[in-house]
Subunit: 193 residues, 2 copies
DNA sequence: ATCATTTCTTAACTTAAGTGAACGAGTTGT
DNA sequence: ACAACTCGTTCACTTAAGTTAAGAAATGAT
């Protein structure tokens, strides 16, 4: 399990054995059952999440409907906007599957950062990278139709289509479940001829 | 002009007079004419842009059509994804109006950062903040219809609707210019009754 | 194993966006 | 001053997504 974490970190900085041990001593790892709600609307939190195994999902509830905005799977990290802005959360995070997560709160990261300044640098690089990735995703979403977005997802994250309920996927693509069904039928029809 | 810059920076860190002078000595300010293309598809660059006055716009050209993805106006900053990923740019940036820009390349920021470490911290905070903002914007886009998106824009950035050509706005909202015209007529019709 | 609930799909109908074309208003260049 | 473009709007028509409803399939709970 730790291998996943250290493999991930090694993409950004290199750690000594001692540093690895300090990280492990912090009791960052948590096993969380499917369905667990990690963050609720209105809640204040300082927690960031890193997915070692499983799938977590962020969503709003607007007019009584869940609006899924993102899925995070193995090796992906999520710092909710409310942690940055220090305001109550606008949205929910819950576990789509049984998960093993690394959960770090702000106090903890401060301690780690002061002991290992390079860790802070890693977070900075990581944040910049995420911002660039986020913007590209946004741009792709904006410039394509729901059908193109689905085909795109099929290319880039085929696992999601298997492991995530259709109605959550539909919401993630910005459409209704019925439209997703129809759209898939349409694509299937096209590929036949 | 400098006041705008230092006013912006003061939201994150405080600078001594000496530090301000060093920044000013770097010749960061540039006057750029409307229509100037600051970044072209395929180009490699290390430049980041900060808008002191005017409006710049990022867009892709897909199937021969401009797809506008963002506008940056006074006090907004843009680091193109290609700067982070160190790959050729996928998109274009051009000036929608005569602009005064602060343009910084990577070498320069490295020098500034090594002389003023707190500057790097500011960039980090800024980047985190941007990421949070970006995600919220994305979420709003995803969870609303074109009409809601237009009304939302009318609330949040009414200036854009005045200063930006309609066809660029339409593309920014993810629709065709004709649809934007129709949508506006529809809203006007509703507000009458 | 059965019942209840949730999830997925299909269908008919409504609403809104895409498309192609036309027109007038405003701009640019010569 | 005029022609050539660009831009915004409107219209008729096409296409796809939203809506409402119904039924089949899968999931969960007792």
């Amino acid at each position: 399990m730790q291998d996943i974490l250290f493999g991930f970190i090694s993409k950004y900085i290199s750690l000594t054995e001692e540093e690895k041990n300090v990280l492990l001593s912090l009791e960052l790892f948590h096993s969380v059952k499917k369905g667990t709600v990690l963050l609720t609307e209105g809640q204040k939190t300082q927690n960031s999440f890193f997915v070692l195994k499983g799938c977590i999902r962020s969503y709003y509830i607007k007019d009584g409907e869940e609006k899924t905005t993102a899925f995070y799977t193995e090796m992906e990290a999520l710092t909710p906007p409310c942690v940055i802005s220090r305001t109550p959360s606008d949205y929910y995070i819950s576990c789509n599957e049984d998960c093993i997560l690394l959960i770090s709160d702000a106090d903890m990261s401060e301690e780690v950062n002061s002991r290992f300044p390079k860790f802070e640098i890693m977070c900075m690089k990581f944040s910049e990278e995420l911002l660039a990735k986020e913007r590209i995703e946004f741009d792709e979403f904006k410039t394509s139709s729901p059908e193109q977005r689905y085909l795109n997802l099929l290319q880039k994250r085929p696992d999601l289509i298997q492991r995530v309920p259709q109605h959550q996927l539909a919401s993630y693509l910005g459409i209704k479940p019925q439209s997703l069904s129809r759209l898939r039928a349409r694509i299937l029809e096209k590929s036949k001829t």
